[in-house]
């Protein structure tokens, strides 16, 4: 655009000035004094332009007023500053496909990953207020220090949105505590992997699924948050299947097992609240794959609690007790039985426990014609299936279906893993 009477001293090819001074309309006129903008007008107005520029005959022959149009700066996202990122830069070959390059370097869990370009990682870091170089945790098995930035790189690989970052960070912190024992959970020959339950308003804000198919596929946050944690263990911690991960069979949830609790429709307090953390929180549990509990007939809470108990008995092996925790995920239709009867979560737990005490004679090795079992010394004892804190109860699932789910745990307690709840900050 040419304006009679205006002498052009410098033309900018790039949009840098537009980004720097938030120019959204062309023309925009800025007047500087000592490097500071002191006057500004948007669109063409001859009188205003003459006043600001001090050029009395500026724009002679041009119309008095034109509103202007949108700046190209609006069409292109502002380039992200990546100079602060400390991770080693890996230049891939010009003939290399970027996704294939990530897989070839061993950064993938078997599925395609999103290539972690500096711009993507910088955008991921906008999802947290924490400093990029802050240490989040020491990651097993290599016991490598992991920065917020490294978590972000792996969150990019996993397909996360920046808004998921606070959840991923809390999950990494919770996993790498002595109580949760991620090292042992990784190394075990058992099926289990980390299961992440999200509580609090953040779940809805970032679009997590707590309803229909809550434990299944189809939700980006559910699918990528658990995946990001596992990729941190793999890439930062060096924990890989066939390496330190010695699972005999594993389970498909080791790709990502993450869901939100349906708190809005639950008759009970949420899982994190039960563990003493209110608001946004993650709870990590070492779980195998979910198995179904079918009870389409029970109309009384007593009958349904008994159904839960007989199914829970099979966790690991019906003859093994106290060694394995479990998570019971009660669906809305099943939960309504307890809601109508006014049962608290603790009442349900107590009723389940009351139906899960067994004489040692039934459990010892050789009993019931099965060699697996407890040592002979427990013959005269009466033993509960679970330790007092060994049964977690969560509310989730779609509105239709008289089904709940059991997720069996791994070695319970001090010698293995305990569930860990962490506030999301």
């Amino acid at each position: 655009m040419e304006i009679p009477g205006l002498e052009v001293k410098r033309e900018e090819e790039s949009l840098d000035l537009s980004y720097a001074f938030d120019v959204e309309t062309v023309p925009t006129l800025l007047r500087f004094e000592n490097g500071e903008v002191v006057e500004r007008t948007v669109g063409w107005n001859r009188d205003i332009w003459r006043k600001i520029t001090g050029v009395a005959d500026l724009g002679e022959g041009l119309p008095e007023h034109r509103p202007g149009c949108g700046s190209r700066a609006l069409d292109f996202p502002k380039p992200v500053d990546t100079s602060h990122l400390a991770s080693r830069r890996v230049t891939i070959g010009s003939q290399e496909d970027d996704i294939e390059a990530c897989i070839a370097r061993g950064w993938s869990d078997g599925l395609p990953v999103v290539p972690p370009t500096p711009a993507r990682v910088a955008r991921m870091l906008t999802g947290t207020h924490r400093d990029a170089q802050e240490i989040v945790a020491v990651i097993p098995p290599d016991l490598a220090e992991c920065t917020v930035e490294k978590v972000a790189v792996n969150a990019v690989l996993a397909g996360c949105e920046p808004s998921y970052m606070p959840v991923v960070l809390a999950a990494v912190e919770a996993a790498c505590t002595d109580e949760f024992n991620m090292h042992g959970l990784l190394a075990t020959t058992y099926f289990s992997g980390p299961v992440i339950v999200v509580n609090g308003p953040i779940a809805k804000r970032i679009g997590m699924n707590s309803g229909v198919n809550a434990l299944g596929q189809g939700n980006r946050a559910n699918s990528s948050i658990g995946r990001a944690l596992q990729l941190v263990i793999r890439n930062v911690g060096g924990g890989r299947p066939g390496g330190v991960d010695r699972a005999t069979l594993g389970n498909p949830g080791k790709l990502s097992f993450c869901f939100a609790e349906d708190e809005a429709n639950s008759p009970w307090e949420g899982l994190a609240e039960e563990h003493g953390v209110e608001g946004d929180a993650v709870t990590l549990f070492c779980g195998e794959g979910p198995r179904g509990v079918v009870d389409q007939i029970s109309r009384t809470p007593e009958s349904l609690a008994k159904s839960f108990a007989v199914c829970l008995r099979t966790v690991a092996h019906p003859k093994l007790v106290l060694g394995f925790d479990a998570m019971l995920i009660v669906s809305p239709e099943h939960a309504s039985r307890f809601k109508e009867a006014g049962w608290t979560k603790q009442r349900l737990r107590d009723e389940i426990y009351a139906n899960l005490n067994f004489p040692g004679a039934e459990l010892i090795r050789g009993a019931q014609g099965i060699e697996e079992g407890l040592p002979e010394g427990f013959k005269d004892a009466t033993l509960p299936k679970f330790t007092p804190n060994g049964l977690l109860i969560v509310h989730a699932g779609g509105g239709a279906g008289l089904f709940s789910a059991i997720v069996g745990g791994w070695v319970a307690g001090e010698t293995g893993s305990k569930p860990v709840t962490r506030a999301i900050t």
Binding site: L85, S87, R88, R89, V90, T91, I92, S94, E96, D98, A101, C102, W107, P115, P116, T117, P118, V121, I139, D142, A144, E145, C146, K150, V153, N154, L157, N181, H183, G184, L185, A187, T188, T189, L231, N235, V236, G237, G238, V411, E414, T415, G416, S417
Partner: protein, 91 residues
């Protein structure tokens, strides 16, 4: 040219050479480490008998739990008392 950020801990792959093997174990002390898995002791009992028959001195050790790495003190004790160690992974 595409540039990506390394998602790993950026440790150089470290090559750790295996410890030197003795030519003969007669007169050496062998540590037998039970990692607390069921029936690991059965396996180690048999090994102990076989080793002692060959004139090898045997020391027994046990990890508190198989789910966690051996405590530093236990590793130190094994290192100071033994020339070799055999670990029973069992199940």
């Amino acid at each position: 040219m595409t540039e990506l950020l390394d998602p790993t801990s950026e440790r150089e792959p470290s090559h750790r050479p295996l410890a030197k093997r003795p030519a003969d174990i007669t007169g050496k002390t062998v540590g037998l480490l039970d990692i607390s898995k069921p029936r690991g002791d059965v396996f180690l009992d048999r090994l102990q008998a076989a080793l002692e028959k060959k004139g090898v001195k045997v020391e027994r050790f046990k990890k508190p739990t198989f789910t966690k790495p051996a405590p530093a003190d236990l590793r130190h004790e094994i290192e100071t008392k033994c020339d070799l160690v055999i670990e029973a992974l069992a199940d």
